[in-house]
Each structure stands twice: as C-alpha cells, then as structure tokens.
Symmetry: C2
Subunit: 488 residues, 2 copies
C-alpha cells in the first residue's frame, strides 16, 4: 500500500490497542472477538471491531484471504478474477471500503455491441437502448421484457429484511420460479424462452429455474439495490448502471489483501474452525492452528459451511434446519487470456448471451490498459453439472468453441486458459450464493441473522441488500460487528 | 435374549472370526470394515459383514443404538416408541431380521372406529371400507380419493432405483407437490382439503406440500412397496395392510439392542465420527473414542449428517451438493400414557385425523396386553415449528386438548406425558426422513448411493424401497455390506 489513503487506514489500525487483551501463546489466543472466515464479511467485521478498539483474531481455513474473491495473476502483474469481479452503483459499502484502501475502480469495458447467440445464429446488438439487456430475438424479446417488468413489480412488495412477511409470501414460496414462468409467459411452449431463462439463472444463481423458490428470486431482485434505490432484475446483469459496471484495479482480491495487511497478524491462515464451544462467560473457537478464547464470535462463511462446524451446545433447530436447506449454487468460471482484447477491434464489448452452452454468458475481464485480452464465461446449473463430467481437454475445447462462436476464430487460440469450479472449492462449496427452494424462507428465514447467544452470523447470504455480492458481504460484516459491539 | 432363535443368531456371530484382523489398543482399532452409525442400517450392515467372516467396528455417536428407533420405557417394563413404531406387509427385510432375533410382532390395535376432527366437529368412521383412509367429510372426500388415485398412478411410472429417469422427471421435479395439487384438485379454493393434505404430509414427511418436489413425493409412494408389490400412498398411512399394521413386542429399539448385543464389543458408543481419511490402501476413521483403520467404511447416518464429517480428500461436488440439498423433515412426537386404553371402551382405535393441530394424527401405542394406554400424536412441518416456540406447559396443554377433542375428557389427565422433538436430536436432526425440494433428485439424485472410493453409503434414505422406514434402513445396510464384500 503505497498511497496516502491506504497509509492512513493502516495507521489508524496501528493506533488500535492491538495487544491490549489480545494475547497469544503457542496454539492459544485470547481476544474480545473471534471472526471465522477472511472473506469480505469477516475482514470488514474485524476492521470495524479493531477500529472500535477491540482485540480480534480472524481464523481463515484457506491459505489466502478473500473468500469468493480470488485473483488469477496474469503475466506482467495484472490480475483476472476467478470469482467476484464486478461492482456497481448502489453498492456503496464495497465502494466506500475500496476507497479507504486506495483500490480504485475502473469501468468494465463496454464499448460497442454485445453478442447474442442462438443455435448457430449470431447477432450483435447494443444494450444502450431502452430494451437494455433483452437480446434482439423476436421469438422471445417481448416475453423477456414483460417477465422482467413483472418480477420487478412483485419484488417491490418484498421487504428485504423479512421476505417471509411479504403479503403473498405463502403463495410465492409455494412455487418454483419455473412454475411461475409457466403460468405467466410462453415458457412452457417456447423452447428458446425457456433457454433464455437459464441464461439468466445460471450466472446469477448457479441454478435452474426449477431449483429456485419464486419468493427467494423476488427477494434477490429486491435486494439488488439499496435503501434509496429499489432493487431491479436488470441490475444483476448489466454493465450499464448495473452490478457489472466497474472493476477494481488489481482485481477484487487486492482489496481483501489490503484489509488483511492492515489487520496484520490478527489474521491466521490455514486454520479451519472445527468446533465452537459456548460457556458462561465466553466462547472457545477450536481451529487447526489456534484455540481462541473470546467474548463473542462472528461466523462469516457460507451458510452450508456453518453447519459443518460442531457447536456445543448444539445450535437450535431453527438455525440447523435453515442451514440444511440453504445450499450453495452450482457455478464454474472459465477464462481465456489472449495477447490483446481482439474483439474490441470488431466493435464488440466481449459480452455475449448464448442459448447454447456450456458458456451461457461472457464478460471482458481484461486489464484496464487492454494490454492483454481476457474473456471469462459463466457455466452454471445444469450446464455446470454436465461440464464437470467432461475430461479436461473436452472442457477446454467446449469453452473455446463457445468463445469462437461469439467472438470469431481468434478466440480459439488463447495464451492461457483456466477454470474455477466453485463447487469443488472446499471452503466455499458452490457459487455465487446460497439458494433457497420453495418453503425455506417462509419456514426458516428468520434464523438467517438471529444470533445464537455469543455467536453472530455474517456473510453475504445474511445481507438485506446485495445478497450474493461483495457489497452484501461488507454490509453483513458491519452489521455483525455492530451487534457484537452492542454486547461488549 | 432368552430364546432359541436369538441364541442361534448370537452363536453364529460368536463363531465369526471376531479377533481375526480386528485388533484394538487404547484408542486404536483395526478392522476390515468400519461402520458409522448404529441405527438399523449400520447394525444390519455390520451383521452381514460379520456373518461373512469379516472384522467390523461400529462407531455410534450416541450412548445408545437404534438411531430413529428409540424406546421410552413405561413403568412395568413395557415400552412405547419415541420414533419408529410400526412395520407392515411388504417390509420383508425388517420382518425377517426381527424373526431372526426373536422379536415378535403383534397387530397395532385397530378395532373400532377412527376419529376425524375438523373445526370442532368430531366424526367417527371405519377405515375398513373401500374408501379406506379417506375421512368421511363430503367437502373433501371425493377430492382426496381422486388425488390419491392419481398420485398412485403417476408413482407407477417412477423407477425406484432412478426416479430421475422417469419420463416426466423434468416436469415433476420442476414443481412442488402444492403446485401440482393446485392444478389437479380443489386445493387452491378448498381450505379444508388444503388442511387435509397437511394432515398427510406432516406425519409422512415432516413437511408442508410446498417443501416437497412432486417427483420426490411420487418416488416416496413408489418406494412404499417391494419388488412384487408396487408402492401406494395408502400404505404410508394405514394400519390395515399398511406400514402401521404391526408393532414389535418390547418396542422397535429392542431389535436394535439385540443386534448390538450379538455384535458385542464391535459396537462402540459415544464416539461421534469427525473425520474420514482415505489413503492408498485403506481408510482411517477418526471418532471421539477410537481411531479405526479399515479397508472400507460404510457411513449409515442421515444424509445431512454425512456432510458434517470432514473428509480427506474432500468428497466430490456431486455428493456434496446432494447433501447440501437433502434436509431432514420437521417432526415431533408427543405421547400420553394412561392407566388403560380407555378409548377402546368407546369403540375407538385410538387413531385420529384432525384438521386442527398441533397434533394432526394419532395412533394407539399401548403395550400389547393393553395394561396401559398410550396414544401418540404427530406434530410436523409448520405445526412443529409453531409448537417449538411454545412453553413446555403450553405444549403439553395443546397436545392434551387435541387428545381430549379426539378421545374425550379422560384424555386430559395422563399419568405420563413425553415429547420427542427430532429436530433437536443432534445425531438425527430431523424426522422421519430426508426430503427433497424441486430440482434435487434430477440434478443430484445419482449421488445418493454412489460410493466414493472406499466410502459406501447406507441409511434409509439410500434405499430403493421403503425409504424413510426401518425396512429401508435394513435394505440399505444389506446393500452396502454386499458392495463392500465385493471389494474385500
């Protein structure tokens, strides 16, 4: 961190009473608060607590920080992202954090046209029109626009802090998104429209429409905004005023690394937490490398992983049953690195929507100076499950064949190719977010953020806004830290 | 075990080479096969392996065997069941096992009429008529009979070993049972019928219709039979030729105890398994009291609990994602013990179906000689979640008020009252069975029984027939043991 702003942030932490109350001997540590997980949620919580003068230990299972934000280094010191890549308007919390740590944003490359691909036919179109992200296909565009409008309207009736209290919650949580589409669009008779829906649900949720509760989907849309700007579907899928509008210099993980750097040896890597024991006046967190005695603990990992820690006493049934029913989505990111972003020469943004997989959506993830060309594709839901069973060679060929169809023959010969199957990432176990089928939010939703005595829950899945995004993670970390501070 | 048959079974085990290859020193053991879980699945697997001359260690987390079969001792040495209570025709595997261990069955008390209760109105009726379990309510009985017939017919098209291969699997796994009912009955306009459906889904699945995939529901029905007798819905809910037809003398757990007795010190209690490590020529199972080195391991616990063991190497994504989406149902059993089964004097079976909860269904669970009267009630799904938030006093009052409404004022004054909230049972975490929402079987079903190198899966949820029942558990134990024997 060379700049003044980052220096100031680090200096502020130095002034915090790091040692006061935070004592460590071999294998043991004592702190006011233990934080489980060094993704954006855990790091933000730790930061807020340290700034409030509290001693903190952050236990991270991996040998890196960032969680679902994970850089892939490119030759020459630039970075592409294996996971979280974008930020956008209304995501004030992650943007503010980045500013503090001197990580600057830049616009996602967005000049020219997008590609729409369907069954061998390739069209280019601008998303800078009133129809926005809806691709130019007369067999589906009217339906797509109508469905988006209707979902946005319904989402407007879902309270982001308690979707289960929406007046139609019981109806909406009794059906899948697929079923709602069958009753409210040409879904059941229009094969193309059906496939277009998957083009949206696979990247956004890592799921098929049949796996998603309608209520959960509406909540997710409602959460794609902030206190002043109601969420919209389009914001999940757009470089224009949407969640894909900007990127971070040096990659998203750089911000996580800078926070961790400022937190210094408060962050302990390679130390998965196995057991959390609550007792009369504190909580003991047993991790691989360190046993931490704290007053409170913030668990900031995906819900399904919270269920794999052993708790004593056992967690209440409400919490346990929520976690049993709140799985991570199924998502793979595949990326190719080229000498330069050649698609730009042909007036293309690097964004493609395709009814033919495995890659149903792509984005330009090149370094800001365009000195290299990087395009990545999302492979989600059913396509991801199919893809996983191919050989390494077949997978690469399938992805490059998609890229060629979207961007031309040069796409077939990248300098580098890499995939990240998030379902295989042991300490995430699926991306981009936890999904809920019918009945889960209605029956178990209230347990999402409810503390269990000295245990507080963070992670993007616990956020009321921008759940599933880095902004939600940062929000959740702040909220959990505030809860803890209220009790210290 | 006093009798000849049980003696013979035990003697056969004695002759098995118990010591051969099964060596134990403090905290360590070596065996051909380790079995995780001493419910019926694990015990049956161990039995089969020992009989085949293999050395076995069974690791059980609790301080008792039986899993979801758990006796509540009554004064005088009789037993009532906190969990699994009944067996019935087509459940040949559990029946055969019981015979071997000299545990005799007797008929569930079934003389007289059942009670149907709806909004203050109480009717009695015989289920020994062609309409069977359908209660005598003109506002719902035609619909109920039609729905049962239609579900049975559809279930006939579901292969029990691969429900995801049914020709309509994609359609059926894209919707909830609730949604199917809305399109195929008066469900959406008939409040009583809607509540009657819950009367069925709560005891059978511990769930509301909105939580269940239609495909999963149809599979469950298809599985309620055996190779010669196709499954039917009614068999899940009937003392007449159904899964509630017989009980075991001494309670269902008695059979588990006898098997465990025969297995002797091969069964290690109070030893939850934390970690399973596969290596080149074997597998090491780390449990609280014992580290077992084995050639193969059979994991015979509910799916969601298999996900809480740490595996090295990590389980494949297919398996992990199935387990993330296969939660246990929500079920509480509440029972009252009376001086005698007084309802029998009034010509009642002790069975009630009620549209008004918390208890939606009851059964007579008295000892075979009728020397005491025991009636238990199922509280499931939404009712269970409501019930859990009442005080102990309120819960008891609510249950006894139901019992009084069904069986008269004497029901209000039991000698004993006890509840078993299976969601709070740490080593089960929900009953009666794991449930699947839309999309789970289609995307992840094939992982249910698929071994992961040296790890084999058992438990009633892995059974093709009588999943959710003791018979399914026994079947699964035999199947897993056979898989292992093929590799030893």
């Amino acid at each position: 961190m060379g700049t003044a702003a980052a220096g100031a942030a680090a200096a502020a932490l130095e002034r915090a009473p790091l040692a006061a109350g935070s004592r460590r001997r071999s294998g043991h540590a004592r702190a006011d608060v233990a934080v489980v997980g060094a993704g954006f949620a855990g790091l933000t919580a730790a930061l807020k607590l340290v700034r409030a003068g509290r001693s903190v230990v952050v236990l991270e299972a991996r040998n890196r920080v960032g969680g679902r934000a994970w850089n892939h280094e490119l030759p020459g010191g630039e970075a592409s992202e294996r996971g979280a890549a974008f930020v956008g308007p209304t995501q004030n919390h992650i943007l503010h954090l980045a500013k503090q740590f001197d990580v600057h944003k830049f616009a996602t490359y967005d000049e020219g046209d997008n590609v729409y691909y369907a069954d061998g036919s390739r069209t280019t179109y601008s998303d800078k029109t009133p129809t926005g992200i809806v691709p130019p296909d007369p067999t589906i565009d009217v339906d797509a626009a109508a469905v988006v409008t209707q979902l946005d309207q319904m989402a407007g009736q879902v309270p982001v802090d308690a979707p289960w209290e929406a007046s139609s919650a019981s109806d909406w949580d009794g059906q899948t998104l697929k079923h709602w589409l069958e009753s409210n669009s040409s879904y059941s008779v229009n094969d193309r429209f059906r496939r277009l829906v998957a083009v949206a649900t696979r990247p956004i949720f890592g799921a098929e429409a049949r796996e998603l509760s309608l209520l959960y989907t509406l909540f997710y849309i409602a959460a794609s905004g902030n206190e002043r700007n109601p969420g919209t579907f389009e914001r999940n899928f757009s470089t224009r005023d949407g969640a894909q509008m900007w990127r971070f210099h040096g990659g998203t993980q750089r911000l996580a690394k800078r926070i961790a750097e400022a937190l210094g040896d408060r962050v302990v890597l390679r130390s998965p937490v196995r057991r959390i024991v609550q007792h009369g006046n504190g909580v003991t967190i047993h991790s691989r490398r360190l046993e931490v005695h704290a007053k409170r603990v913030i668990v900031a990992i995906p819900p399904t992983l919270t269920g794999r820690i052993h708790y004593h006493p056992a967690l209440p049934a409400e919490r346990d049953h929520l976690v049993q029913r709140f799985p991570q989505g199924t998502l793979i990111k595949a990326a190719a690195v080229y000498g330069r972003p050649f698609w730009r020469d042909h007036g293309l943004t690097g964004q493609a929507l395709s009814l033919n997989g495995p890659v149903n959506a792509t984005f330009d993830d090149s370094p800001p100076d365009g000195s290299k060309g990087v395009v990545f594709g999302f492979i989600g839901g059913h396509e991801a499950r199919r893809f996983r069973h191919m050989s390494k060679h077949e997978r690469r060929a399938a992805v490059l064949s998609n890229f060629e169809a979207y961007f031309g023959p040069r796409a077939r010969h990248p300098r580098d190719y890499f995939e990240t199957d998030w379902t295989k990432q042991r300490w995430t176990r699926g991306c981009p977010v936890a999904i809920a089928g019918p009945g889960t939010l209605l029956a178990h939703g209230p347990a999402i953020r409810k503390p269990v005595r000295r245990i507080h829950w963070a992670g993007t899945e616990t956020s009321t806004y921008w759940m599933g995004y880095m902004d939600g993670a940062v929000r959740s970390g702040k909220r959990a830290a505030a809860e803890v501070l209220d009790h210290l």
